[in-house]
Symmetry: C2
Amino acid sequence: MKAAEMSLEKNADGGAGRPAPGRVEDVRRGNLVRVLASLAEARTDPDVRPTRADLAARTGLTKASVSSLVADLVDAGLVAESGTTRDGERGRPGVGLELNSRRGVVGMEINVDYISAGLLDLGGTLRIHRTLESGNRGQPPEAVMALLAGLVSEVAAEASAAGTVILGGGLAVPGLVDSASGTVASAPNLHWRGVALQLDRLLPDAPFGTVLHNEANCAALGELWYGHGLDFHDYLFVSGEVGVGGGLVIGSELFAGPLGQAGEVGHMVVEPSGPECSCGGHGCLETYAGQEAIFSEAGIPPGSPSVRLAMLGEQLASGEAAAVSAVARAGRYLGIAAASTARLMNLSAVVLGGHFTQMGPWIAPAVVRSLADYAPGVVSPSRVAVSELGQSAAMQGAAGSSLRSVLAAPFRLTPSG
Amino acid sequence: MKAAEMSLEKNADGGAGRPAPGRVEDVRRGNLVRVLASLAEARTDPDVRPTRADLAARTGLTKASVSSLVADLVDAGLVAESGTTRDGERGRPGVGLELNSRRGVVGMEINVDYISAGLLDLGGTLRIHRTLESGNRGQPPEAVMALLAGLVSEVAAEASAAGTVILGGGLAVPGLVDSASGTVASAPNLHWRGVALQLDRLLPDAPFGTVLHNEANCAALGELWYGHGLDFHDYLFVSGEVGVGGGLVIGSELFAGPLGQAGEVGHMVVEPSGPECSCGGHGCLETYAGQEAIFSEAGIPPGSPSVRLAMLGEQLASGEAAAVSAVARAGRYLGIAAASTARLMNLSAVVLGGHFTQMGPWIAPAVVRSLADYAPGVVSPSRVAVSELGQSAAMQGAAGSSLRSVLAAPFRLTPSG
DNA sequence: GCATTTAGTTTTCAATCTGAACTATATGCG
DNA sequence: CGCATATAGTTCAGATTGAAAACTAAATGC
């Protein structure tokens, strides 16, 4: 497995290869990561910039080792010194260290109605974000990728003008993907199937390349790193799109499953006697909480998804009974799937994303009630939350994934690496 | 976290402590583990005993390093030389190496109707196995533990007579446990609640101590290491007991969940309009596939569980319609839960254990059919299997867990450790 | 009996961390 | 101002470790 995929593919190893033998040099690699992680972690308070001495205390390494490691990281461009920091105490003031904000990663997303790209600096701050409306359903992958490449080059140009070097990127696509080969196995909503994307052309100069990810998983990760993840470390993320996607976050990491495709909440069975689903099964969650199910139950006439979604929003706001009960029904079945998941995997929180975000006030209470009915005492009401990031969650998750892979393999940029 | 808990608690870390800083000595620790793992893995063919040179080739370490590492492992008593092995080729014959069969771990189980203890040598061979019938339901924990201690001391005496040194042990209990504190949070079938067990008294001289585990999880692990796990690396294990327990094996490891209590398949929701469950929910799998549910649906009169189970077996064998359809119904709901699990976690196999083992020929086809109905193409019929170990799965899993923790921390027995 | 082959050991060397000594630079007090 | 003190960071010797290569040991085969 390439290092660039580690953050998303942790569980998809397959156990093929025995880990490389431990050499003395590996200790340094591990310690480079440790120092960098410690620096990233200390960043929660933006005013406090740890010094070499702080990092030594935090990591347990000696000052001598930390100095040497930091020197390598500075040479690699990952860490920057930022003036002396004085505590007001006596003694020689330390030199503040921070993740180099002149290095960044690009998050990209192809969705049904739009494409987007954004730049995250190493500290995790979103510096640039561009979205382009684009009806991608049924469009040839080459055309969409060309459009995205254009958007990305705008972002890259702006980054370059600001002196920022791009190290890697992540692309989120709504479908089943194979990250290792950069192939979209199937993306029903785009009508793509078995498409090998030319990922290398998006960011030709980035040393970590561009990695392909599933959109719902990315949204779950975006939520983890830049949204609710600050409070929740283990949760089920359910993303309402055309279907119902999802992601499992366990111990602040995405659980990708043995084949890298876990989180298909939409096809959990929530009603054995329910209608047939497009997957060939019966009573899948998607047949109750997918867009089409909600729209038709609410009596919303056919049309473009965004129009119908807006219409649903209006009807909910005005208290239209059919709309309210359609959403409540979706929430009830979401709660059933969440109850089973919580029991099975010992999870204690649920985050609702995608179009469920807009239905939050109407759907969340139904989920809470359903959880109380079907798994009392397992998920407390305060741990049913609505996504904080909305539409940018997947893009930020894709960028964050790339960011993590950089921070997990700094040695790829050091001379010794 | 204590090293002895690693194998079962991998997912329950909580992420509290930053890993210890990497020192040069840690490389050796890692390589000791690597060599030992390579030796254990090579053991699949019992006639082939790898030599130092073989291990060097397998691990990627140099012959010199392997020689030095093996010397430490021999000193620690974990590895033994076993005569020269000649390939019939030219050249100096190598010295065969094997896991020292004079070192062992003890597996223990407390269940509703019996207690048992067994000795596994480091190679994973079950050397001793004793079971004692004992109605433990409602008995005070001290009394049951005293009985178990007696059984264990018999096993220990026999091991000692054979020159085998016991390094550690694992105890499986049917209930929610906290391994870190050695406490049984609740074991409904034993009527235990919040009981702190005196684990240290069971094997006072074992350097790795005794670790407490959940019985269904242990059974899943026993199946993994000594049963179907040889073929399946990712599966849902469903154990029929009074309730319905389970375990998730992902990448040949137990998935314990963030709180260490994953695998509660019995309380997944399989029928939203179903009857109330003892957990307070509705339509849980347990209300369809638990012992009581199957017995009453089959029209088997109240009585002792073992008698009723035998009666059910007879009726199934003679093709009694009520019994057959009761078991088929349980299988259908098992299949629904398995379908949801397979979809959610991207699993592709199901192993039925506990009392489902005895119903195998009647229940497995129903599970297969249900999976085909609710998650077509996800779990192939050949990947629905019945446990191979039966009643000893949990005991062997508990022992195997201890064995793994020894092999994962050999440095605890070396002078350098 | 000697070349050849393979197993395992010994020796030398480079990488790396630790720990202690040392240098650099601030504060605070007389 | 000058000096004690405190903290940051660097330098250097020492210990541990694995790699690489040379070396010894013990077999086969002609």
